[in-house]
Symmetry: C2
Subunit: 351 residues, 2 copies
């Protein structure tokens, strides 16, 4: 776009200095500070002129006449797109992540939760991680296990090696034979189908055929549907919400509480984490770019995880617009890799 041509190298350097400084200090930064701390070989007056230009162009603003400048959302956007440096994680950070990931984790949701904790620990912001979502799961087989006279464990095995189960309680006693027949019947209907390929009418036929009370068949059917739903819907883990309170921009208790409450709403998280532009690997939503009003002065950075061709879920960080973007990006990158490896370990390498 034209925007990129708007700024010559010197303006870019100055903008970068301002933002780097502001991210670190949280104070409006003035021309003198830039002239001193960052070695641009320019006097403060020159910088002052450039800053006036940058303000005119909308990259920075002045909270009041006699204060320094702070980046606008547009400024951050330019920073993220063109200026930001992504320095690698420090050796000790890597070590601490490895340490945290050390213990063997067998369940996928536990893994997601742990990753979420690590991400918020390492960045110091709030993390949000979505568990893998397997849309239109194909049922490989169904198993029914009689737990006791009146209870059945329904196990659904889907492609990709995913297993979900559910315990149901019946009003009737069912004998071994009945369970076996149910088992058979359900497998016949369901194997290699997705849930929406299974019409209730087929089910109805079977029901007549195997002579088992309607209620039992229905209960099992419901349980299976439930399992599939669990496979197909994603859980969201949010960690380190209280980190929000660390940042001066939220020192207003009322505001802070508002944000905390907003972040606790499942739907809000969903909109943060949903796959929007499927091309991009990383996605930045900076301040006012967020749809939700309460988040207009937060930034959200998300990335897809999963294999190259098939994204499984999203991993992300929420913080003030004045966020250490570079650091967060490198953290997410690194943790994303780890997560991918671990998921492979759990799900196995069969597709």
């Amino acid at each position: 776009m034209a925007m990129e041509k708007e700024l010559n190298d010197r303006k870019r350097a100055i903008l970068k200095s301002i933002i780097d400084d502001y991210i670190q200090s949280a104070h409006p930064v003035g021309s003198r500070t830039i002239a001193r701390k960052h070695e641009l070989g320019l006097g403060s007056a020159t910088i002052r002129n450039e800053m006036a230009d940058l303000e005119e162009l909308g990259y920075i603003t002045q909270p009041h006449t006699s204060a320094g400048r702070i980046p606008s959302d547009k400024g951050y956007r330019f920073y993220v797109d063109h200026l930001m440096q992504i320095h690698n994680l420090a050796q000790e950070e890597i070590a601490s992540i490895r340490r945290a990931m050390d213990e063997r984790i067998e369940e996928i949701n536990q893994l997601i939760k742990k990753v979420s904790v690590i991400l918020s620990d390492i960045t110091g912001y709030t993390s949000v991680v979505m568990s893998p979502q397997f849309t239109r799961a194909v049922i490989k087989s169904v198993k029914l296990v009689a737990v006791d006279e009146k209870r059945l464990l329904v196990v659904v095995l889907a492609t990709g090696g995913i297993v979900k189960d559910k315990l149901i309680k019946l009003n009737f006693k069912v004998d071994e034979d009945t369970v076996a027949r149910l088992n058979q019947a359900f497998n016949n209907i369901m194997a290699n189908r997705t849930m929406d390929q299974i019409s209730k009418t087929i089910l109805f036929d079977v029901q007549k055929h195997i002579q088992i009370p309607d209620l039992v068949v229905m209960a099992v059917m419901d349980a299976i549907e439930d399992c599939v739903r669990k496979i197909e819907t994603a859980d969201i883990y949010l960690e380190g919400i209280t980190n929000i309170l660390n940042y001066p921009e939220f020192s207003d208790l009322i505001k802070a509480r508002e944000i905390l409450d907003t972040l606790r709403e499942e739907e809000v998280l969903m909109t943060l984490v949903k796959k929007e532009s499927s091309k991009q690997y990383f996605e930045f939503r900076i301040g006012s770019e967020n749809e939700i009003d309460e988040m207009k002065n937060l930034s959200v950075i998300t990335a897809r995880y999963g294999s190259e061709d098939k994204s499984l879920g999203t991993i992300g960080v929420i913080g003030p617009t004045r966020m250490a973007y570079g650091k967060v990006v490198s953290s997410i990158k690194y943790i994303r890799e780890l997560l991918n490896k671990e998921i492979l370990k759990i799900l196995g390498d069969d597709s």
Copy 2:
């Protein structure tokens, strides 16, 4: 104790007025306020004298010379033991609880979580609910289900109708026959035993006997142990932490954050929720009565739930010492009853 005799009726009435007022207003309450708002038929000067006595006795304190009085922990303790009124829940509160509990819940941990949310909603404080804990669970039976060639679902059924399962991944392929033999063998060893009655040596014998690779047997054994551990340990649900930010006593961001962080630690919650004096049905820990330093100006109210003779877990509320004790007690009472009923529905009525 002697303490009770220390206070004549008039002093009690005044103390009650002070505390009621302070709970509601959060401002130090002066003699004039009491004389006006509460109809005790006394002049402010009289009340002033009594207040001086109450302060001497340690029930109230003065933040500074020219301020009103606020209750001390000792004052709250007396209030809770002798003065507090437990008014029933308002009709509309009951309605809103019922509404929230309306949908059918099948899993016990979901139930606990929901109860926790309701409790924090209705009281406006933070709630903490412990899931049922079945100490020294007796295994009724074990079932192994071959999910696919290399994976086994281990299902443990314990008395009380509790079922837990775990999926394990083997390094070997196992055939139907092997699974059947494993199944048989484990049931022989484990049925009607608690975990600690099962020595590894017995297991070892079996292992030799049935001619199945050590690793497989071990893996299954581990999984069973894991299931039993899950049955025997309690989860804790904490809801409405951000409510903390609503109360002026925590308007200091640093303090607030400290408390939020403390409450996120599992061990802390454990000490709050552990069954201490097994006689008492309700338990109050007021301010300094708490062991943990960070909680010295919080109060915790807990109650046991479960049947008369056997307590299953704990349900409680955390708030500032200036808490609406009466309201919280009635809320917990009511919700406790609902919880008991729902648990019975889920676990069934067999012991």
